[in-house]
């Protein structure tokens, strides 16, 4: 071919302004990313189960001095907290004081122990306190999965008709206590 077409590199020799483009793009990205990092991240994912009634279930007692849990316990007209926990779970130890505080503020807390042995449950309650009025044993995570919980601990706000009003994922920290009490009020 006699009429050789110049390629991009040959043209680039004449006009090197393009070399700044990658830097400009990067600065644009960095500005955006910096802005996004300062934004409070709304990590809260609204559970699909919120607004749905609890499934039918009946769990045997997990501890000797507390009765088991069934769906009927949530339909007595009084909003309650449903705490999904386990004796082998570290964050559950961390949230124990907050559960006590919630109980002292008048919340009724029903527990479901996941894949636990009675002896371990008793040991946990003796060491970290027992804020529960009832504790059911969910040995196969059946109820846990049905109410849309995938880990421990999780805490649900259930209204007087047994409908899930709020799902709190992870341990309850001190700053979450007022929020949960408020949700309980709203569920009335």
């Amino acid at each position: 071919m006699s009429a050789a077409t110049d390629t991009s590199e040959a043209k680039a020799g004449l006009n090197k302004a393009w070399v700044w483009i990658p830097l400009l793009l990067f600065i644009g990205f960095a500005t955006l990313a910096a802005f996004m990092l300062t934004q409070p991240k709304n990590e809260f994912v609204t559970s699909k189960m919120v607004g749905k009634p609890l499934p039918e279930f009946d769990l045997r007692p997990a501890a000797q001095d507390r009765p088991g849990v069934s769906i009927a316990n949530f339909r007595d007209g009084k909003p309650k907290l449903l705490n999904v926990w386990a004796s082998w779970c570290l964050p559950c130890i961390a949230e124990a004081p907050q559960l006590e505080e919630l109980r002292d503020s008048g919340a009724e807390i029903i527990g479901i122990a996941i894949r636990d042995r009675p002896a371990d449950v008793a040991g946990f309650l003796a060491r970290h306190g027992n804020p529960y009025t009832r504790i059911g044993a969910d040995d196969l995570s059946e109820v846990q999965l049905e109410i849309g919980s995938s880990g421990v601990p999780e805490t649900f706000v259930i209204d007087g008709q047994g409908v899930i009003r709020h799902q709190h994922i992870g341990d309850i920290r001190a700053e979450h206590v007022p929020m949960l009490l408020e949700k309980l009020q709203e569920a009335k």
Binding site: M1, A4, T5, D6, T7, S8, E9, A10, A12, G13, K16, V19, W20, P22, L23, F26, I27, F29, A30, L32, A33, A34, F35, M36, L37, Q39, K41, E43, A86, W88, C89, L90, P91, I114, R115, L140, S141, Q144, L145, S150, G151, V152
Partner: protein, 673 residues
């Protein structure tokens, strides 16, 4: 004790990174061609640093192996009842551990570069090591100040929390380390590019030094992405092999840039063209690795890969990103003008085709980058969007299709200048194959347009990949050329797999009771029973499926729905039956109520995916082509090294003879050496 040793090793390595950076930089102040007294320290600093980083990683591996629950990272990510293999792989199944792995690989490759590379001018080497030390330092700081893996708990935990069960898989043992080696191998290419740019040594000699690093990194990236894709395919149980998830994109983007860089650096080494391009791609490739790390670790983007997310870490990573990417792009922009223009070539030459495809690769990279960042951009304006296949597939395909066509023809062209008329017969054959396959597939059935084009291009590309071998004596073809043929053929194989999966997959979702039979394609799937089973840290329901093809011998498949209890999580273990022409993929779901016959029914999901395995065979073939290419290059290097040594020896011999003759003519003959 061990954790403290690891922690101390990390601090010492950071100190050595400073030494490496400073001595390399000071060495640059010496005048050109003059030896600097400071240059001495950079190489040993890099080598010792590599040892220290390796020690740090090994101590963490040890802590996980013995489940040392006084180490916070172990307590929050491991569990004493886990199988040993997954305890070990758990070392990098978390943020801190994986960042330590990243830094260790970075230090090891820096050490290898400092130890082995002697071909570059000392000044360029000093600059390169200085940049490498600077990059390493940033990541040591990140690790030590915001992600210390060796932090102790004030009171040792009674038991660990456990590892995400999705990660308790052999895939985790392979996938992240290979990807990291790939990412970090690109850091060496980056440092070399910066070194060459700073010392104005952008030439074929530098490209030859850079090429094995780029090839090596690219092989690991290819392998890592292939492994990761297969892992997601069988472990997630969704039946797909690529989800355009931000984290997947984060690994794809460096690969795209590295692929372009690989071709560009070869042109620079062979033809002394594309100088500026090569440097820019060197910077972009590693920038993409770091950008990926930032996006994944900062929590700016939400992904199914739920990593520990921390805005403070994100800020620190953004600062590092600004320093390295911003800094290198600034140097690039300032210095690019001084890079002498390389050799010229015409559009219809092999260089021309390579440049065109590099632009196509860059365009695909831009599309993936835009799609990945777009949700972040809109979120800044409080709109939450999710970008998925409907955007990526067609937008990427526009450029990919053009690229595949040029890729079929490019290797047939000659360097520098060629006339299209010369290869007209080959082009005609390839065009005919394309049209024939399209016609055939359209005749056979009604399939979506992209898979049809994919099938046609796969056939064309497969044929075209073998064409460079035509008319040559196969035993005389250089190993590196075999590498190109294998890699290009691998692309055709993978494309064939993707197109088949897209066009011919059949899916069946049904509620089945024990004894129930489902038909899918040629396959008869019978649910024999569903039973509870248990493993070391999980319980599951397991289905027994008897599958047979065309009434042949039935094979048993056992898909499971597993429940792990530490941490509590449900996963589905798919069961796969691989035949030469595809895979049967079965997943058992939840209980689906009681059937009319009074029996418990289960959700059963079965796919028949013809030739889906070719996606990963193709990926492996591409990586294998890269390996062949490295071997070929090393062979040539060793041969030239040997030849030049022989020339050197001959010259010395001649000089010795000349001396002897002179001496013989003189007064006292000296004893011969």
């Amino acid at each position: 004790m061990f954790a403290e040793i690891g922690h101390a090793a990390l601090w010492l390595a950071a100190a050595l990174a400073i030494l490496q950076m400073v001595s390399g930089a000071l060495a640059l102040r010496a005048a050109e061609g003059e030896a600097s007294p400071y240059a001495l320290y950079a190489r040993p600093a890099a080598v010792v640093q590599a040892f220290l980083a390796a020690i740090a990683f090994l101590t963490l591996l040890h802590a996980f192996a013995v489940t040392d629950l006084s180490v916070k990272l172990v307590a929050t990510n491991s569990h004493s009842m886990k199988p040993l293999l997954y305890k070990l792989t758990g070392t990098w199944g978390n943020h801190e551990g994986s960042m330590l792995l990243w830094v260790s690989v970075l230090a090891l490759s820096g050490g290898l570069l400092a130890f082995a590379e002697r071909r570059l001018p000392e000044r360029t080497m000093s600059a390169t090591l200085s940049v490498q030390g600077f990059v390493a330092l940033g990541f040591y700081v990140f690790l030590l100040f915001s992600s210390n893996p060796f932090e102790r708990l004030p009171v040792p935990a009674v038991e660990g929390i456990g590892l995400n069960p999705l990660l308790q898989d052999i895939g985790l043992a392979i996938h992240p380390p290979t990807l990291y080696i790939g990412y970090v191998g690109l850091s060496v290419a980056f440092s070399l590019a910066m070194g060459a740019l700073i010392t104005r040594q952008v030439n074929p000699n530098f490209a030859k030094v850079m090429r094995p690093w780029v090839l090596g990194a690219w092989v690991f990236l290819t392998f890592g992405i292939t492994a990761g894709s297969y892992w997601a395919y069988y472990e997630l149980g969704w039946g797909g092999w690529w989800f355009w998830d931000p984290v997947e994109n984060a690994s794809l983007m460096p690969w795209l840039a590295a692929t372009a860089l690989l071709h560009s650096v070869s042109v620079l080494a062979a033809r002394d063209a594309l100088r500026t391009w090569t440097i820019m791609l060197g910077v972009v490739a590693f920038s993409m690795s770091m950008l990926g790390t930032f996006l994944v670790r900062s929590g700016v983007i939400t992904s199914v890969h739920a990593f520990a997310v921390d805005p403070e870490r994100g800020t620190l990573l953004l600062v590092l990103l600004g320093l390295y990417v911003g800094g290198s792009l600034t140097i690039f922009a300032l210095r690019a003008g001084s890079v002498a223009e390389g050799k010229r070539f015409t559009a219809t030459s092999r260089e021309g085709a390579l440049v065109f495809n590099n632009v196509m690769l860059s365009a695909i990279l831009a599309i993936v980058l835009l799609g990945t960042l777009y949700p972040v951009l809109t979120e800044a304006f409080d709109v939450r969007v999710s970008v998925g296949p409907p955007y990526f597939n067609p937008a990427g395909a526009i450029f990919a299709i053009t690229m595949f066509i040029v890729m079929a023809i490019g290797p047939l062209l000659r360097w520098k200048d060629d006339s299209p008329a010369r290869i007209q017969p080959q082009i005609a054959v390839l065009g005919a194959v394309t049209l024939l396959v399209i016609a055939l597939v359209v005749f056979l059935g009604d399939y979506p347009v992209l898979p049809v084009l994919g099938l046609a291009l796969a056939a064309t590309l497969g044929l075209a990949a073998l064409m460079p071998l035509k008319g040559r004596k196969l035993t005389r073809v250089p190993t590196a050329t075999w590498g190109m043929v294998a890699a290009h053929f691998g692309v055709a194989v993978a494309l064939f797999g993707m197109a088949c999966e897209g066009a011919f997959t059949q899916e069946r979702l049904a509620a089945v009771g024990p004894g129930g039979v489902e038909q899918i394609g040629d396959w008869k799937v019978q649910l024999e029973s569903v039973d509870p089973v248990s493993g070391p840290n999980w319980t599951a329901i397991e289905a027994r499926l008897a599958v047979s093809r065309d009434g042949g011998e039935p094979v048993t498949l056992n898909p499971q729905a597993r429940n792990f209890w530490a941490p509590a999580q449900a996963t589905s273990e798919s069961a796969l039956l691989t035949t030469w022409d595809g895979q049967l993929y079965a997943v058992i779901g939840d209980a689906a109520g009681i059937g009319p016959d009074g029996q418990q029914r289960w959700q059963l999901r079965v796919w028949w995916k013809p030739f889906v395995t070719f996606i990963w065979y193709g990926g492996l073939l591409i990586a294998f082509g890269g390996v062949l290419s490295i071997i070929g290059r090393l062979q040539v290097d060793l041969r030239t090294r040997k030849a030049s040594r022989r020339r050197e020896e001959q010259r010395e011999d001649q000089a010795a003879i000349a001396r002897d003759e002179q001496a013989a003519g003189g007064a006292t003959p000296e004893p011969a050496e």
